[in-house]
């Protein structure tokens, strides 16, 4: 079965119900792993599927077109598993990577706290030296799909500074409290994750101690932004799909909605946005395949554009559907809610603007004459 077939049969018909129930069945992740999605970004040498970024991006776009909640679970899983593949020591990679690829374990990402968002290196969670273990205490908030995740990549402070650590969900002292009723990404229900003197072996430290932000979090967020760029592009496609079907079938003033030029204007804008978002993530993917340093800013640009464009597109999609767009019988209200979230997660768009602008100041300013 191809991914496209699987999404058509097992995701598209269920996405609305998952959104209402605020959960995605665990088996869906296992089945996506079987289709090569969960290990696509891990190299074959490390036991992954080793797919080029362009191919992985196509998978993510396809998932995003059906369920952004599911896409968000794939995103945090990719961030956590990438961090282990890139920064973990050999024994930790041996212990976790195969399970991340097969879907036996789902990874999560625990950075944000009740009082710490964009200024992430100020996290207050403490890793206190306890011999062979770290003793972890603190509270993380807005942690995606934490009820389903098997192991979190947690960021906290050691005496040397911010550090990343793998913490299995089923560890004594760790508790998960779901947050119901969020605006979007509801089926990837976010949670508070509380740590009360949780003992975790120091060997599960990921990356250099005290450098957990500059290296581990930064690079994992870069992976997350790529996922959101591709997924949001899929979300725009979903908005066009729903709106063009509706505009063809619904008649007003004696003709299909699609014959009205103001409807056409919205469809034209959505379609242009889709093509531009797709071109941007594919350009970023190419840079990622070539391991170009510029890939980070390209990815940021793609995420920034696709997320804002998905908000525009979902806004149009609701407008084209009229009252039906606000009701429960069409998926566009879910698209509208999910699109809004993409502008905040994996770095708010204001943080993306800072990165893009700083790069522009260096790259585009004409050189002064000597």
């Amino acid at each position: 079965m191809t991914l496209q077939d699987y999404l058509g049969v097992s995701v598209a018909p269920c996405a609305e119900a998952w959104d209402r129930e605020e959960r995605v069945p665990r088996r869906v992740l296992t089945e996506l792993a079987g289709l090569g999605v969960l290990g696509a970004h891990i190299s074959a040498a490390q036991g992954g599927r080793g797919r080029p970024a362009t191919e992985w991006g196509e998978m993510l776009e396809a998932v995003g077109a059906e369920s952004m909640s599911l896409l968000s679970i794939l995103t945090v899983h990719a961030m956590c598993s990438f961090a282990v593949a890139r920064w973990g020591d050999a024994a930790t990679q041996e212990e976790y990577l195969a399970d991340f690829v097969s879907g036996r374990k789902i990874g999560g990402f625990a950075l944000t706290e009740p009082a710490v968002g964009s200024d992430a290196k100020a996290v207050a969670t403490r890793f206190v030296d306890a011999g062979e273990n770290w003793s972890v205490s603190g509270c993380k908030k807005w942690i995606s799909a934490a009820e389903l995740v098997d192991v979190f990549l947690v960021f906290g402070q050691t005496e040397d500074g911010p550090t990343a650590l793998l913490v299995p969900r089923l560890t004594r002292g760790l508790s998960v409290v779901p947050i119901s009723g969020s605006l979007g990404f509801r089926a990837a229900r976010t949670c508070e994750v509380k740590f009360d003197h949780v003992l975790v072996p120091k060997r599960w430290t990921i990356g250099p101690q005290g450098q957990g932000f500059g290296w581990v979090a930064s690079s994992a967020l870069d992976v997350g932004r790529f996922c959101i760029a591709c997924g949001s592009t899929g979300l725009i496609r979903a908005c066009i799909r729903a709106s063009s079907a509706y505009a063809r079938d619904r008649r007003q003033f004696g003709v299909p909605l699609g014959e009205h030029q103001l409807i056409q204007a919205m469809l034209a804008e959505m379609t242009t946005d889709y093509k531009a978002a797709r071109a941007l993530w594919r350009a970023a993917a190419k840079e990622r395949e070539d391991l170009q340093p510029g890939s980070i800013v390209e990815t940021t640009t793609a995420k920034y554009f696709a997320s804002t464009a998905s908000s525009r597109a979902s806004n149009h999609a609701v407008q084209i559907h009229g009252a039906n767009g606000c009701g429960p019988d069409f998926p566009v209200q879910r698209y509208f809610r999910d699109a809004r979230v993409t502008e905040i997660i994996e770095g708010s768009n204001q943080m993306q603007q800072l990165m893009i602008a700083r790069d522009a100041l260096a790259a585009f300013a004409p050189k002064r004459g000597k």
Partner: protein, 84 residues
């Protein structure tokens, strides 16, 4: 590759991001605020690609990437370029 060639290459890369200032090989680019923290990852990608090296975890400290001197020393220690 000689150390001088390596320095020239690193300076050229940094020059794309620090266009207006003169910076010395010993200048601490992060501490002086010449580049932001994203640069750390970009520098790893750049050095790993252009010098065909894969850094170990213990190499990855901001200190090792903090100046042209520090990066050149790191490449020497990793045996990628000669000690001159």
């Amino acid at each position: 590759m000689t150390q001088i060639e390596a320095r020239t290459k690193i300076r050229a890369f940094l020059g794309k991001f620090i266009p207006e200032q003169d910076f010395a090989d010993g200048d601490e680019i992060f501490a002086l605020g010449l580049v932001n923290s994203l640069m750390a990852m970009q520098l790893v990608l750049f050095l790993e690609k252009d010098f065909a090296v894969k850094f170990a975890n213990q190499d990855l400290t901001l200190k090792n990437f903090g100046s042209v001197d520090a990066m050149t020393d790191l490449l020497v220690r990793r045996g990628v370029i000669g000690a001159d």
